[in-house]
Amino acid sequence: MPVSEDASSLRDCRQTHVVIEWKHDRPLVTCRFNPSGNALFTSAEDNNVQRWEFPSGKKVDYAGHDSWVRDIAFLPDNETVVTVASDDKMIFWSATAEKPAPMKTIEAHKGWIRTIAVSPDGKLIATGGNDNLVKLWNAADATHVRDLAGHDSDIYSVLFHPDGKSLLSGDLSGIVRQWDIANGTETCTFDAKELHTYNGGQQVHYGGVRNMALSPDGKHLACCGLHKATNPLGAVNEPLVLVFDWEDQKKVQSHIGDGALKGIAWRVHYLSDGTLVGASGGSGGGFLLFWKADQDKEFHKLKLPDTARGLDLHPDDLHLATVHYDKTVRISKMAAKAAS
């Protein structure tokens, strides 16, 4: 399967279909394509990371973490992959080695590390975790640059702005903070509290900004997660994506599912034409959801064979990867099936 196909001419979200399935031996947690798109990295409940050559599916295991890997990021050189996990560690690895071993291991947070991102110039790494801190690191030598303190709940997601000047961090309580990278000061907040629920009967906080994405024109910020959490302990909730105006931080859209999907929007991506793609998973099963900016409900959804836990968009803007509880990686193509 060539990865140089012209997405703009081929892409048809309504025709999205699964084209590849790869099997692992444990349920999967998350996934990321490397910058060149020739490999997909996944993590699983065996505490390992897997590198799958795309599209052949040849697999290489990365063993080194002591708990589930929550997020994966790449340095722009395409040679280094960095993973963060619930063992409080950030590990640097070769992204291409045949027998990869940890190159550098950092005790990066006190508590789970849920999220990692690399700055557009590749010089900085941002991590966020259950110690309510966002941390900045030098990508070249993994030295600590500074802490960004201000959140009062677990950090679920971090995202560098493409201009390289600011960083966004989203937490369990639904607050998104924007930081000036140069001096570490907070510049503004986005109110995504609709993504948070406190259930008084069960006495639990639930939800959070599970992931964020910026629109290709830079005018909108999408934050995903869940709402309608009438029974958090029983997984009764619905996916929700909130879209904010970048300039004034006001909410401009709430993307929901058409019908009862009973899931969480784990991750969202903007396609180059501004279409928003999300993966939902939960007690209602797994879905790929496609939204237009001016419509609250999706214009198309694809029911996946199993509940989804992670999503990534291939650099070709045409393929999507999802990882699933049934130990399967699924690659879907946003185009019509090839004529047989």
Partner: protein, 187 residues
């Protein structure tokens, strides 16, 4: 009610409220200390919402963060006051959670194998009685049940668990006659 003040946890110091945590479980543990100090013979404190069929690890972090703070403060205070020698502490739930993690990162009900924690009175510190198989799905050694536990509770506080008691005129055994004390747990 003559002893109403015994139940008034607000009479405890601000410092103690802070140490135990200003949330329900913290207040209840502080009240438990107050009741025990006033010679109440049986005190039960509940901490609920462990029924995590969804996102078990997120919710348990939240719950156990509360539990650890308040419970450890209570145990520390009982120890410091010399009360652990005469107080049996039991931490238990009616069943465990599945060793297997479900599709929603949750754990479901598991009544086949789980643990109960005891301390104080005659309970030897650090003892581990029995074990499960490697993946926690079944008891591999020294299975006990509620019958054994009741004999052990009673023996720990110095009662003869082989005796009877009367309830509504009926003579009833204090503990299941078919079961016995977990004797190796007691000093």
């Amino acid at each position: 009610m003559k002893q109403r003040a015994v139940f008034d946890v607000e009479k405890e110091s601000e410092k103690d409220h802070e140490r135990y945590g200003k949330f329900d479980f913290g207040k209840h543990c502080l009240l438990a200390r107050r009741l025990l100090e006033n010679d109440i013979t049986f005190v039960q404190v509940e901490h609920s919402n462990y029924d995590t069929h969804n996102e078990n690890f997120n919710f348990h972090l939240e719950q156990l963060g509360e539990f650890d703070r308040s419970f450890s403060t209570l145990i520390g205070d009982l120890h410091d006051r010399g009360m652990l020698d005469s107080t049996l502490v039991v931490v238990m739930s009616e069943f465990g959670r599945t060793p297997r993690i479900n599709a929603r990162y949750g754990r479901d009900h598991w009544g086949t194998a789980w643990s109960v924690c005891l301390g104080g009175c005659r309970v030897q510190p650090g003892a581990v009685i029995g074990k499960t198989n490697d993946n926690g799905t079944a008891v591999a050694d020294r299975e006990v049940d509620h019958g054994n536990l009741f004999h052990t509770y009673l023996a720990a506080v110095g009662l003869d668990s082989s005796g009877n008691f009367k309830a509504g005129g009926r003579e009833l055994p204090m503990a299941d006659p078919a079961k016995s004390t977990i004797s190796e747990l007691l000093t």
